[in-house]
Subunit: 312 residues, 2 copies
């Protein structure tokens, strides 16, 4: 049966939506490295010279809709649905656009599977933002969801559709709730903003610096999504994607700042809605045989070096 034949050892066809996004690129590369034929679909003009190094054998610049999937997807064995809204701030500025990118595209991917590719698996990279503000450490997957942002609400809505299709229509699916994914190529969020500040010899940040986050390198996130593709089923396992360890914002920025000879300082005011400690319980991922391989200390050093190469 086709579904059972997809494994690390038998190459298959993989479609990555949003393949030119930060996560999508690494996901494409990880599947290609395992011998799979990877194609991509999503927004953005991207030349062959740009997408080929990420392991793609085809790139379709198009909205992710039922029609474009039917037109461009070539009998995939797996879809990793990386397309979607990319930030909390954008989701507040333009909530309907975030809804369309995250929720509507998921509806179309699922309907494509149901109607045109019932034996294809789907992996959905969700977000720890579905948990909202949580004081429990670490957070297990059965912790009640209570998103506080539009972004988190839309990710949860997308999750619910994936689970519902799996249960109702037998779609083979799995969901990974990613924590603080970072790595070379990420041109937003804390590390990016901090490099810009540090480069100007500015080191003052909002918050207390004591906020704990679970930093997961994007390469580890990609291998976890690869594992998730093997465990997709109509039961739709939903697991956390993190390192299982926390590091404070202060620790991370201290390490980053050394590369710019700047020591960070903090305003001391806790930002509303920011949970103080946010660490993943990764028992589920470990049960799949997956382990994070890159320590945040090494990842941050590499990020600083990449940033300097590309931005100075």
């Amino acid at each position: 049966m086709k579904i059972d034949s997809f494994s690390q050892d038998s190459p298959g066809r993989v479609l990555v939506t949003g393949a030119n996004g930060f996560l999508g690129r690494y996901v494409a590369r990880s599947f290609a490295d395992q011998g799979h034929t990877v194609s991509g679909i999503g927004h953005g003009g991207w030349s062959k010279d740009e997408w080929e190094p990420w392991g793609l054998s085809q790139w379709n610049s198009a909205d992710v809709t039922l029609e474009t999937l039917r037109q461009h997807a070539e009998r995939p064995d797996v879809i990793v649905h990386c397309a979607g809204g990319g930030s909390v701030s954008f989701s507040i500025e333009d909530p309907i656009a975030d809804f369309e990118r995250t929720v509507v595209t998921t509806a179309h991917v699922l309907e494509y599977l149901r109607t045109s590719a019932p034996s294809c698996r789907v992996v959905y990279p969700s977000s720890a933002s579905v948990y909202g503000t949580v004081d429990t450490v670490p957070i297990a997957e059965d912790f009640p969801t209570a998103p506080i942002s539009q972004y988190g609400t839309h990710k949860l809505m997308a999750e619910q559709m994936v689970t519902s299709y799996a249960r109702q229509f037998g779609t083979h699916a799995s969901i990974v709730r990613l924590f603080s994914v970072y790595g070379c190529g990420l041109r937003k969020q804390l590390l990016w903003d901090a490099c810009i500040k540090f480069a100007k010899q500015d080191g003052v940040f909002m918050g207390t610096g004591e906020e704990v986050r679970d930093w997961l390198h994007v390469q580890d996130a990609s291998t976890l999504l690869l594992a998730a593709s093997r465990h997709a089923s109509p039961q739709c396992p939903t697991i956390n994607g993190g390192s299982g360890r926390g590091a404070t914002v202060r620790e991370v920025l201290m390490r980053l700042g050394r590369n710019f000879d700047v020591e960070p300082g903090f305003s001391g005011t806790q930002r509303q809605g920011d949970p103080s400690r946010f660490i993943a319980d990764i028992k589920g991922a470990k049960a799949w045989g997956w382990h994070p391989t890159k320590k945040w200390t090494q990842g941050v050093e590499e990020y600083a070096a990449w940033w300097k190469r590309n931005s100075l």
Copy 2:
């Protein structure tokens, strides 16, 4: 302030989406009876002779989108968003259409409020299907949601957007989870199907007959949505809409069957996924001063009489 001026005593402008559906018609009539100016928008050719008796002063036959709302809505004080998918079976046959009717229209209504009518209130008639299969009796609003059908999943997704807009953007909103709403004009579900059977002198039904449902007459549902419009706030109260009492399917069909001189019988097999007892805890609605007024015994008699007038 406009928001505070909308009450039973000060007429305002009300827009009912899906106003030509079963619930929408009664909602329009209830608001009109309180002196409000009611307009409607939704699918369906409907002549003035047809919509005027339901209390509408205007009917726009159009998809519910940001664009059509901006075009047709005339500075409403309240929107009651009755448009949406109407049955579990349709949601399984055509899940993407159910998604578009229920979830996407809600996204557009909310975005219309945020961008064009920030002082307008929104009332969302949701469904008890968001609870899924529950053995607890009665079901309180803080019971964990776990829908089992696409229909219930989409209603929950719509609820989450409403709550999220209220919290994030200050939208004045309220949600009513309706249980088994019935009444004259409902041309589907148990009572409708049973009348067709009884008229053919057939009385054999699936199930045990012992399934308990909370029957709420559509007129009572409408007055509850009227109350909900007064209690809409950025806290987005979410309450159950039921009678607070249960009646078995056997009791209801016995009463209905008498009107056709048929005694119902049951196959005895419980249908998978059908919860055995489903009764609303209506403390929230009662705290608003609302009480159901029509007993199911009377409602069922009226339904039988209506069915005979319209279908025999």
